[in-house]
Symmetry: C2
Amino acid sequence: MSPKKAATGPSVPGAVWLRQRPPRRGQHGLTRERIAAEVVSQLDHGGPAGLNLRSIAAALDVHPTTLYWHVSARDDLLDFAVDAVFAELPLPTRPADDWIEDVRAFMHNLRAALLAHPWSGALASSRPLLGPEALARSEFVYAALARAGFTGDELTASAAAVSNLVIGSVAAETSWQHGDESPARRAVHEHLRANAETYPAMAELSTESGHWGAQFSYSADLLLAGLAQKAPINVTSHGATTQAPQIM
Amino acid sequence: MSPKKAATGPSVPGAVWLRQRPPRRGQHGLTRERIAAEVVSQLDHGGPAGLNLRSIAAALDVHPTTLYWHVSARDDLLDFAVDAVFAELPLPTRPADDWIEDVRAFMHNLRAALLAHPWSGALASSRPLLGPEALARSEFVYAALARAGFTGDELTASAAAVSNLVIGSVAAETSWQHGDESPARRAVHEHLRANAETYPAMAELSTESGHWGAQFSYSADLLLAGLAQKAPINVTSHGATTQAPQIM
DNA sequence: ACCTGAACACCGTTCAAGT
DNA sequence: ACCTGAACACCGTTCAAGT
């Protein structure tokens, strides 16, 4: 049985991070970090469907059941893996002059990190992101948006919108990538054309859609435009700041 | 073996919809609709983790392996279930005067439908949404955004932003709902406070966060503000329209 | 065309026991 | 405190056979 399991109540997702960390360096020197790295590597190879405790344990040279000393369930391993992906996100040591550039960079960096591990988008969207690496990135976004003058619930909602749009977009994008993407896209396109009466607007385009990257960029710009407009503090192009009252 | 499996190539996710539909009414009258309804009902009870082919088959009064005539894998069942949830989304028979009200209503309606089946947000974010019901809703959003003057890749990106923000937000929201939510929130809050030096901006708030609904509403408004600003055709409050050139 | 029935390989998790 | 070892219950999927 894993230590301090009852500390946060019954099986809250993401709860590994809230439990006490088991002491390091046992006989095999099995640590969260080594486990996490192995899980990431196996997910990179076979995706979530291919992940199983037995092969992880084998790679770490322990018995399958040994893992249960470090985690309370398979799901905790996925929490480790997702946080490890967040660790790859570059974190600027000091903020940019314009808060919006920090937010924009965060969005693009987060997308890049998640895309580097195609399984991570879907996982990140389906669990609370409470690992230390994820929290540090959230803190960065909160700080940037706080400089824009957002406070309280508006600050929370703005930060959530930023993360959710990115994670949602990457999850959608990677959901196409299980096999070859082009035959799937072509099949969908044909399907829409064949039913052009039911889907007139969609049948019209999608002929040769642009790249995922450009479309994400435009999606992000839409949200950034909204943030800039609703920000209580606006930075003019000359660096002067103006205050505007704002109601939620 | 399921019919026409090779039609769209090797195991593309969401590919059930692109395969030919097996003829209806066999000996047991097993149809996609009956299967889908049963899957939704079982997911509502036990979530994705509790879903298994044997109990679905039992409820439909067939042998477990019979399902493989109608689907090629367990995953296809989830595609059925997600599309069934989209079917609950009200689809206006005629568009509103203002396109933005159509988009706003869509966002709130989609959230409501997904929240009614807490498992559906995570599933919707992790697979292409190619079912007939989902496509019909996408068409509605495309049509609304086309009235705003969006075309081509900008239209695609705008529509994607709308869906991805909603689905991403609901997935995040429901990821907290596995057990009781309040103890988890409290634990996170304590954790942030305890590490206030590392998370100054986040430690400051989160004391008593507002409701999910209000925060989603604000998130949606941020994106809607961006859409309104970037829309090639702007509707003034008096109903007059103006055109503005726009570059992606 | 649709469904049955038996069988296979696998996998998360438990629990008591070791050191 | 950390790891072993055996064992359990379950589950997706296959394939050949029925009607």
